[in-house]
């Protein structure tokens, strides 16, 4: 196999394009649920027995989603084959094949939601695998970036890596709970905001109320985790960590506002769908920051004596 330089700028650009397309696809997929169009095309993989049905009513959203998903699938296929042929690092090649496998499974899950009439476990898994695939593409994009090859590790004396990984995990769990809430029809189980049935703690007699309230509590946990991550990033005095952390914090605040808007507007389509996509964006930024933290920092014991660390102090072996 003839290898290109690992920086492979065009492959990196394709990975970035796939990443952006995936974020758009998550929004488009969210529109399908928000408009109640999930079963407007009752067959799969064809649509009303056609490759291209009339794009009317709910068909516009559902078949539009299938078209966007096919585009992302194609981009992923090209990226996976190109990576397999040109990437010398076995780990990155495996990552590309994992992304391809994930997008194929995601397509099959999409078909299963239609054929089996939106069973909750399949819908929730479809939603969560979308986020997982998004992270895989982020990893592919970062691992092919110039920064990946050219970086010199610094010591992590502010606990950035742990904070970033923890923040990412908290966001993912919140996304899982959000998907569960959405696909069990509990999005308006608590109809008011910021209180819940006029109280701080609502009566938890109904399963929908429980899931919804846990999602609200999860938002508080996410905010705490992101603030913790941002504090560590600011202490590092390194803009490579500070800027993404600031972005994650801003997106989290926007996400909370969108969640409130979704409730107060009785799940109006645009803010509700934007809430889905912004959740993915928060996860993406946190995951990217985690990768960056792990790649650009190392335990101080492994560094040479004069290597600087986060916070500007020289590390000592």
């Amino acid at each position: 196999m003839q290898s290109e330089s690992p920086s492979a700028p065009w492959r990196h650009r394709l990975a970035v394009l796939t990443l952006l397309a995936t974020l758009a696809l998550i929004f488009i997929g969210g529109l399908v649920t928000s408009t109640g169009s999930g079963l407007s095309v009752p067959d799969w993989p064809l649509s009303y027995g056609m490759l291209m049905p009339p794009m009317v009513g709910g068909v516009f959203y559902e078949h539009g989603h299938r078209m966007a998903a096919s585009a992302v699938g194609f981009l992923t296929l090209v990226l996976a084959v190109w990576t397999a042929r040109r990437e010398p690092r076995r780990g990155v090649r495996r990552l590309a094949w994992a992304a391809l496998a994930a997008v194929v499974v995601q397509g099959l899950l999409g078909g299963a939601t239609v054929i089996f009439l939106l069973p909750t476990p399949v819908s929730v898994t479809h939603a969560c695998l979308a986020q997982t695939f998004f992270c895989l593409v982020i990893a592919l994009a970062y691992s092919t970036s110039p920064e990946w090859r050219e970086a010199s590790p610094v010591a992590d004396r502010v606990g950035l890596r742990g904070a970033a990984a923890f923040g990412t995990a908290v966001v993912f769990v919140q996304l899982l709970i959000g998907a569960l809430m959405r696909h069990t029809g509990a999005g308006l189980a608590i109809p008011d905001f910021p209180l819940a049935f006029g109280r701080l703690w609502p009566p938890l007699s109904d399963a929908g109320v429980v899931v919804h309230f846990v999602h609200r509590l999860g938002a508080v946990c996410v905010l705490g985790a992101i603030l913790h991550l941002a504090a560590r990033a600011w202490r590092s005095a390194d803009p490579r960590f500070g800027r993404p952390a600031n972005l994650a914090l801003a997106l989290t605040l926007i996400q909370i506002a969108l969640g409130a808007t979704a409730v107060l507007t009785q799940k109006s389509v645009v803010p509700t769908t934007a809430h889905v996509a912004t959740g993915a964006a928060v996860l993406g930024v946190c995951f990217f920051l985690t990768l960056r933290a792990f790649h650009l920092t190392a335990k101080s014991a492994r560094l040479a004596p004069a290597t600087p660390d986060l916070g500007g102090q020289a590390a000592h072996a």
């Binding site: 009513g57 898994t125 997982t132 069990t184 029809g185």
Partner: protein, 256 residues
């Protein structure tokens, strides 16, 4: 090394989605209990009593909902003046399209008629809105529109289905095996379309005429619980006693 960690982190993050298998089902509502069917060997219990009456509406009919049809140009073309969804049809004080049926007790086994009942998708709406059919009887679903529809009932006791009818003139016959009242039916392509299918194991049901009047015939003498369903307004139930050869009077009044 870092790539292994990235894959491991991603894999760990992917594990929680497995928990969705315990996510539970979407909330469902229990259908009102229909009269239990008797064993196959028991003869059909019919008689000469009947129940007649009128379902009336008191109050002000709320304004109908203006439907935006621009999502489908074919529907917009069929309703150039717009389409208004008004589920409350009042004529001379009477409320039409109300399902009235004997809830209990009903004994005996009744064979399903051989003829099918038709549910038509016409003018980007359902005809009729209140469909009644017997368990095991054919329901012919037809697309009379030059646009595609999908027919998607959401039963709780029967098997749910959803299929598309892309072309004008397409027909398909389906059956429901179990008695179930007020199954909502919708079209996911055109979300304003709404009908109800009620499935019975006996023949003692009807839908009120435009003026709200109804008649249920062929009942054996006895005391019965009669239920009236509108779909938009809160359902009502009353008891009535009927005698052989006589028509008992029973009226319902829905309030707006």
């Amino acid at each position: 090394m870092i790539m292994r960690k990235a894959i491991a982190v991603t894999g760990l993050c992917a594990l929680p989605f497995v928990a969705s298998c315990g996510g539970g089902e979407a909330p469902t509502t229990e259908a009102p209990a229909a009269a239990p069917t008797a064993e196959a060997a028991a003869p059909a219990a019919t008689g000469t009593a009947s129940i007649t009456g009128k379902v009336s509406f008191e109050g002000t009919v709320p304004p109908g909902e203006k439907i935006k049809l621009n999502a489908d140009p074919k529907c917009a073309e069929m309703h150039k003046g717009g389409l208004e969804r008004q589920p409350i049809h009042v004529t001379d004080g009477g409320l039409g399209d109300v399902l009235v049926y004997v809830k209990s007790p009903v004994s005996g086994t009744f064979a399903a008629p051989a003829d099918a009942v038709t549910l038509d998708q016409k003018g980007c709406d359902y005809t009729p809105h209140m469909v009644t059919v017997r368990a095991g009887q054919g329901l012919k679903i037809r697309n009379s529109d030059d646009t595609l529809h999908n027919i998607h009932p959401r039963p709780t006791a029967n098997e749910e289905f959803n299929f598309g009818q892309a072309k004008q003139g397409m027909e398909k016959v389906r059956t429901f095996d179990k008695a179930e009242v007020m199954i909502p039916v919708g079209c996911d392509v055109h979300p304003w379309m709404r009908a109800y299918i009620s499935v019975f194991s006996h023949p003692f049901y009807t839908v009120t005429k435009e003026d709200g009047t109804f008649e249920i015939k062929g009942l054996p003498a006895g005391e019965y619980e009669i239920e009236a369903f509108h779909g938009k307004l809160k359902n009502q139930a009353q008891k009535v006693t009927v005698k052989d050869g006589e028509a008992a009077k029973l009226d319902f009044s829905f309030k707006g």
